[in-house]
């Protein structure tokens, strides 16, 4: 059967009444799950596995995929309104999204996020459809040394995330790195910095850090500055309309980052988080007005939101064309397929074209539904900011506590959350930026493990990082991105002296 027949088979699945119903259910659930930190897409799909047993596998996968990309789509909401990123892929969204909301442009920020997500998601699906079988070889081209080089490049974002003092940003990043080392070391099985506590053995969860350092720290600030009139969330929601000139400003990052985000998403293990950070730094690097980034820049919000959704579509390339899961969520999706009697793998494309194409085509429909679902809801959701401050503070606190308890059902994590809230507040007090901390935390373990895996493979020789072309290219880009700006600055200075 040719590809065209396969696509037609898939369209039959996706455009059937059932298909449309299930994709709608999936994206609706996904949006809600994305908005609430704690109940992530992994848990939601895991819990649905027994329910989906006996369901038509096409429909089950269409729905579960909808939950997955719906959650990334909806995840921007809590980042923008409350500075509380619920999934790692939406941390970068908070960098400019929350400042925008504080300036009384919450409505616009949510609209920009929705439109960029839609564009990123849709472009991603188009690429998925055109290139999925072709890109299979790209997806497996990365070994540990390549991952190390890619993550190192992402880590250079620390330099661009510093608000003022680079030294402070580096210290903050180092702290994040140190926290990332807590737990069982993957390469030796030794526990590090756990002080005999079983609760620390698997390390500290991302959500504990994100909600502590971002959301709780913000809550503490609100409590302490409660008598100052101009602090805290602006109750003004503003218009949700995006003007023509704003659209023009968004179009650059949207077109670049939907491609870049998709490509990073194709790599198993890199995913939406790294895509969103790399999108943020590249846009900041090439922007005419980089000083606006971090203060509510439209570009700074558009870039990560486009990239994380495009990356989510990209993650389906290794999943559908090779049967390789690129993330925790796609691994659980694979498990769900197995219980329905489908063996996910490289043969899926030829043996189950209706499933393969059905999911891809349903993602177009899903993205349109997401836009239709999200845009009209914005005025209502952003009313959250109209809640009186004392109530909002309590609500956010409860929201964080439930979210963190929901990941492990372990009260120890709640104490950790509180501790990181305090650390986050103290960091702010002495104006250490929190973003490098969380970036280093997210990347820290992956960087360390990929270096050590590489060195095990090479019997300890560092040449492994220079001998492989992709690795070398990334390392050169990393060095240039760090060295060029100061060098150019120096040249300017010298010229001005002359």
């Amino acid at each position: 059967m040719g590809v065209m027949d396969g696509i037609l088979e898939g369209a039959k699945v996706a455009f059937s009444f059932q298909g449309i119903l299930f994709v709608l259910m999936g994206v609706f659930l996904g949006t809600i799950i994305g908005m609430l930190p704690g109940l992530g897409p992994i848990t939601a799909i895991g819990v649905m596995i027994p329910i989906s047993y006996g369901m038509d596998p096409n429909m089950a996968l269409v729905m579960m995929a909808g939950i997955y990309y719906g959650a990334i789509f909806g995840g921007s909401t809590s980042s923008i309104l409350l500075n509380a990123p619920g999934v790692a892929g939406t941390v970068a969204t908070a960098f400019d999204g929350y400042p925008m909301a504080q300036q009384g442009k919450a409505g616009k920020a949510l609209a920009i996020a929705a439109v960029s997500s839609f564009v990123g998601g849709t472009v991603g699906v188009i690429f998925l459809m055109l290139f999925a079988p072709l890109l299979a070889s790209v997806a497996i081209s990365f070994g540990p040394p390549e991952y190390f080089a890619l993550m190192l490049l992402a880590l250079t974002a620390i330099a661009s995330l510093s608000e003022g003092s680079t030294i402070k940003a580096l210290i903050s990043g180092t702290l994040g790195f140190m926290v990332a080392m807590i737990g069982i070391d993957g390469q030796t099985g030794t526990s590090r910095f756990t002080f005999g506590s079983a609760s620390l053995l698997s390390g500290i969860d991302f959500l504990v850090i994100a909600l502590g350092i971002f959301a709780l720290a913000e809550v503490f600030k609100l409590i302490i500055t409660r008598n100052e009139s101009d602090s805290g969330p602006n109750k003004n929601i503003g218009s949700i309309r995006i003007t023509k000139s704003e659209m023009k400003e968004m179009s650059g990052p949207m077109s670049r980052q939907s491609v870049l985000g998709f490509l990073i998403g194709v790599l198993p293990g890199a995913g939406a988080t790294i895509a969103s950070f790399i999108a943020y730094i590249t846009e900041k690097k090439i922007a005419k007005n980089p000083e606006e980034f971090g203060k509510g820049s439209i570009k700074g919000l558009t870039a990560p939101e486009t990239a994380n959704n495009a990356a989510t579509s990209g993650a389906f390339v290794p999943l559908l064309s090779l049967g390789i899961p690129g993330s925790g969520t796609t691994a659980v999706l694979l498990g769900a397929l197995m219980v329905m009697g489908i063996q996910p793998g490289p043969m899926l494309f030829t043996e189950k074209p209706d499933l393969f194409w059905g999911v891809i085509i349903s993602m177009y429909i899903g993205n349109i539904f997401l836009l239709i679902l999200n845009l009209p809801l914005i005025p209502y959701i952003s009313k959250l900011l109209n809640i009186p401050r004392p109530m909002l503070i309590s609500l956010v606190t409860i929201f964080c506590l439930i979210g963190v308890y929901g990941i492990s059902f372990n009260t120890f994590d709640l104490y950790l959350l509180l501790a990181f809230g305090i650390i986050g507040y103290l960091l702010r007090l002495v104006s250490f930026p929190a973003a490098p901390f969380i970036l280093a935390f997210i990347l820290g373990e992956m960087i360390e493990q990929s270096v050590r895996k590489s060195l095990t493979i090479s019997n300890g020789s560092f040449m492994i990082f220079l001998e492989r072309p992709i690795t070398l290219a990334f390392l050169i880009i990393t060095v240039l991105s760090l060295a060029l700006p100061p060098l150019l600055g120096m040249r300017k200075k010298i010229k001005s002296i002359e």
Partner: protein, 333 residues
Amino acid sequence: MKRFLLFMGMSIALILAACNESSGDADSADGNWKPTRNIEIVAPSGAGGGWDTTARMAAKVLEEEGLIDKGIGVVNKTGGGGAVGWAYIATKKGSPYNLFVTSTPMIDVPLNGQSEYDYTDFTPIANVIADYGAFAVKADSKWQTLNDLFDDMKKDPTSVTVIGSSSPGSMDHLKFAKFAKEAGVDITKIKYVSEQDGGELTALLNGSVDVFSTDVSEVVEQVRAGNIRVLAVTSEERLEGETISDFPTGVEQGINTTYINWRGFFGPKDLPEEALKYYEQKFKEMTETDAWKKIRANYGWGDFFMGHEEYKEFLKEQVESSKALLDELGIVR
């Protein structure tokens, strides 16, 4: 919220049960213990993993086939490769309402010094399923048989990199070491890379590593697509099924050892005798249902039922054999 309600409900049930203790005793005197409230099965991992899936599927079959007429809730206690969940169950001493699902890490994790509780701190009820391991190489690899690989490793153990998803000293590492040792390779020099983000197959396919130590279910589709070759599976005899039956065992290649990844259900320490008998029987009945057999077939899980007594003996042997390997690898703490 749901959990909170469940918790409230369970607390109330507990109080009622305590008030009504005399009738409970009467039941157990007959040897006909039956649960009088909802049962909790802990999966000491996140949703969607092997433990979680087994627990949820067992709960589904036990409930839907009418084997147990009380509700069964699966609760995830994530962390420490199981250690967090075990620490929780250890506080439930004697309770017939708190079961958990476990497998080989119940042996390896305590031996690695990562959990203060080992299997003797709990009551093994019944084992239900088993998977076997497989050692795979890229399709264009120079090694055609397991002996080709081990011959090269005997000359230079550091010339080969093995990848697996469990941490060093755990399943994927141990089973490869067990076979390599049997073949006469110096296992202390084996290069083992642990890949916990799902990139094992990628690393094998792009040539970053040489051998992938994993479960049989992970390799079947890749073999069918012609991407990889399975040098050996760790079962005693060839496994049944299309493609799977083509995989040679280690035994038939003269490497006389096996490795089994068992999975079953435990209760807390001091589980009352009657409750133990009750659950043992129910799990046995569960494994005999068609619904369970179909789930097993879909996941590629092998049938491996063992009752309490047999299970205890089996676990004892497993500890001995793993400990010997870990000692030699220098990992036992």
